[in-house]
């Protein structure tokens, strides 16, 4: 776990803007994510949530504006460097290594930070050293019995669970979860909420989700995006009662 300084800002963006061929996908977004908080990004499709995620994790370079992580400028840094600074992400569309097993995935994630990955003269059995830790991570997401199956053979929900365990394996101070419950059935959604709540202790979590049940159960703070801009920000109840938000987004989802 990490020492959390209340009130400190973990992730901050200033006038962050991304323009794709004249289309302002993210438009002058000022975001402040407090350390130790669980911060949700919501908004209709095309509001710029995933683009914002890609900017925060270095998968896209901003057109203008700045990003800092714990007051360190990471603007324009490549994904692996952002990851090494303690910001780990999961992907909205399940993104795994098809030919490896779940266990091999977690082993890979565990060695990602060090220079151990360069050891081409050693046996890959070396990766199995952390067996207890690997087992623990797999157990956390309920994949123990499937640990040695290639992920190409896993079901969708199982792959989503593995996504989460990879983020966990990095043990990051900041976790960015892109729709952690997308496409899941009810029981898995609740399990995932439980899991995220458990792992968010002592960490900063930013997540995107369309499921208002998930947002309501997890988020300390909600930022509503619309057309690349921040429409509203506040606690869940505050935001859901905001007139502009109701018309823009929650209207259809919550009051239907």
């Amino acid at each position: 776990m990490f020492a959390v300084t209340p009130g400190r800002v973990a992730v901050r963006t200033r006038a962050l803007t991304k323009v794709f061929r004249g289309f302002r996908a993210v438009d002058a977004v000022d975001l402040e994510v407090r350390e130790g908080s669980v911060h949700a990004l919501v908004g209709p499709n095309g509001a710029g949530k995933t683009t914002l995620f890609n900017l925060l994790t270095g998968f896209l370079s901003p057109t203008s504006g700045a990003i800092t992580v714990f007051d360190e400028d990471v603007t324009g840094k490549p994904p692996e460097q952002v990851a090494r600074r303690g910001v780990a992400r999961s992907f909205q569309i399940t993104s795994l290594f098809e030919t490896l097993t779940s266990r091999e995935h977690v082993e890979l994630a565990l060695q990602g930070h060090g220079r151990q990955g360069f050891r081409f003269w050693r046996s890959e059995k070396l990766l199995g050293r952390n067996r207890a830790r690997v087992d623990e991570l797999l157990a956390q997401v309920g994949l123990t019995s499937l640990a040695d199956k290639q992920v190409g053979l896993l079901a969708y929900g199982q792959k989503r669970a593995l996504e989460l365990s990879l983020v966990l394996a990095l043990d990051p101070p900041v976790m960015l979860l892109d729709e952690p419950t997308a496409g899941m059935g009810i029981e898995d959604v609740d399990r995932t909420i439980e899991l995220v709540r458990r792992i968010s202790a002592g960490r900063t979590v930013v997540f995107v989700d369309h499921n208002m049940h998930v947002v309501g159960s997890l988020a300390d703070r909600v930022t509503v995006l619309q057309q690349g801009r921040v429409l509203a920000e506040g606690g869940y109840d505050e935001v859901r009662n905001d007139e502009r938000v109701i018309t823009a987004y929650l209207g259809e989802a919550d009051h239907a």
Binding site: P79, E80, A83, F91, F97, T99, G112, L126, L153, A155
Partner: protein, 338 residues
């Protein structure tokens, strides 16, 4: 989509072999391979046997990139050929035992691969292939123009084969085969070690999903450059032995067709199988040798047709198909036992 992660039955993909090979089978295959390598010059004209094993290492080295990193290098002739030249030059000018000259050639290939790899890995797919091809063409051009050093179109002739004064090895290709074999076997072992190391695991993850590898903190370009340099070094070992074996280096070794040939061998054997490269090299060299000795003139026509047929019928390649069939069989047996 709406089922639970726990209750939903996994759907078997058509392409993913589930069973991994048993350790016992691995030892048997290793023994068979070793015996085959040791017995080869008894059945095949020894210089041809040497060609087969050298080409086998060449194809295996390429597979580190093609099969395990997902990079199609179309410029590996640069490393094969330049090592052949450097090995020949060292052997000619310094009269050192040939393994030392071969080592020098391999080191040179690695040094050459560093800048080429550094630039090439910024691109992937067809662009990577074209950039490596362009670099190899530049190396070819240098080899062609710098005739004081390389002999230009005449190549380097009369490369000595020095081996601690052991005359049998120096003059008889049958004995030379056994002196050179350990170098090539070492290269194959090194390739196996590389793809089954923590580093190799990262390579496979980059091949499968490079963005995800980045998100885990892996510096993808660095890994690709190192893989490129290692592959070039092993290619260099093979090229150096080839040069000493022939006692002659031709400009062909740097030509782009050599880059193409090794890609064909690797694909023929099965990419991502490592040992498939050896199978591909064996089949290609044997076929070409058989056709040449029977006085047939359309060698490329026949080898080309064989390649097309094999790839159409067995897209996993010869060795890849055998391995896949075996794994499917093993998987069935395992699940029926349960």
């Amino acid at each position: 989509m709406t089922q639970s992660a726990i209750t939903e039955a996994p759907v078997a993909g058509p392409d993913v072999p589930v069973a991994r090979r048993s350790p016992r089978l691995r030892w048997i295959l290793l023994a068979v391979g070793l015996v085959a390598a040791l017995a080869l010059p008894w059945f095949v004209y020894p210089p041809v046997a040497m060609d087969i094993v050298a080409m086998a290492l060449f194809a295996i080295a390429l597979d580190i990139l093609l099969g395990y990193t997902g990079l199609l290098s179309f410029g590996h002739a640069a490393f094969w050929g330049s090592s052949a030249y450097v090995t020949a030059l060292i052997a000619t000018h310094y009269g050192v035992p040939f393994p030392v000259a071969v080592l020098g050639g391999a080191v040179f290939a690695m040094i050459l691969a560093l800048p080429i790899g550094y630039v090439s890995v910024r691109r992937s797919g067809i662009y990577f292939a074209m950039v490596t091809l362009a670099f190899a063409q530049m190396v070819y051009f240098i080899g062609y123009q710098w005739s004081d050093l390389t002999g230009g179109e005449n190549g380097l002739q009369g490369v000595p084969r020095s081996f601690f004064g052991i005359e049998l090895v120096e003059t008889e290709s049958f004995y030379f085969y056994y002196a050179a074999l350990p170098i090539l076997l070492f290269g194959m072992w090194a390739a196996w070690r590389i793809v089954h190391s923590p580093f190799g695991r990262v390579l496979v993850s980059i091949r499968d999903n490079s963005q995800r590898a980045r998100a885990l903190g892996y510096e993808v370009e660095k890994y690709k450059v190192i893989a490129f340099v290692l592959s070039a070094g092993l290619t260099g070992l093979a090229g150096g032995v080839f040069a000493i074996s022939h006692g002659f280096v031709a400009l062909t070794e740097l030509h782009w067709t050599t880059s193409g040939d090794v890609v064909l061998m690797t694909v023929l054997g099965g990419i991502g199988t490592l040992w498939g490269g050896a199978v591909g090299a064996f089949l290609t060299v044997m076929l070409a040798d058989y056709l040449a000795s029977s006085g047939f003139h359309g060698i490329d026509l026949v080898t080309g047709s064989v390649f097309v047929i094999v790839v159409l019928l067995f897209r996993r390649g010869v060795w890849g198909t055998v391995r896949h069939r075996w794994m499917v069989h093993r998987q069935r047996r395992l699940s029926s036992r349960r």
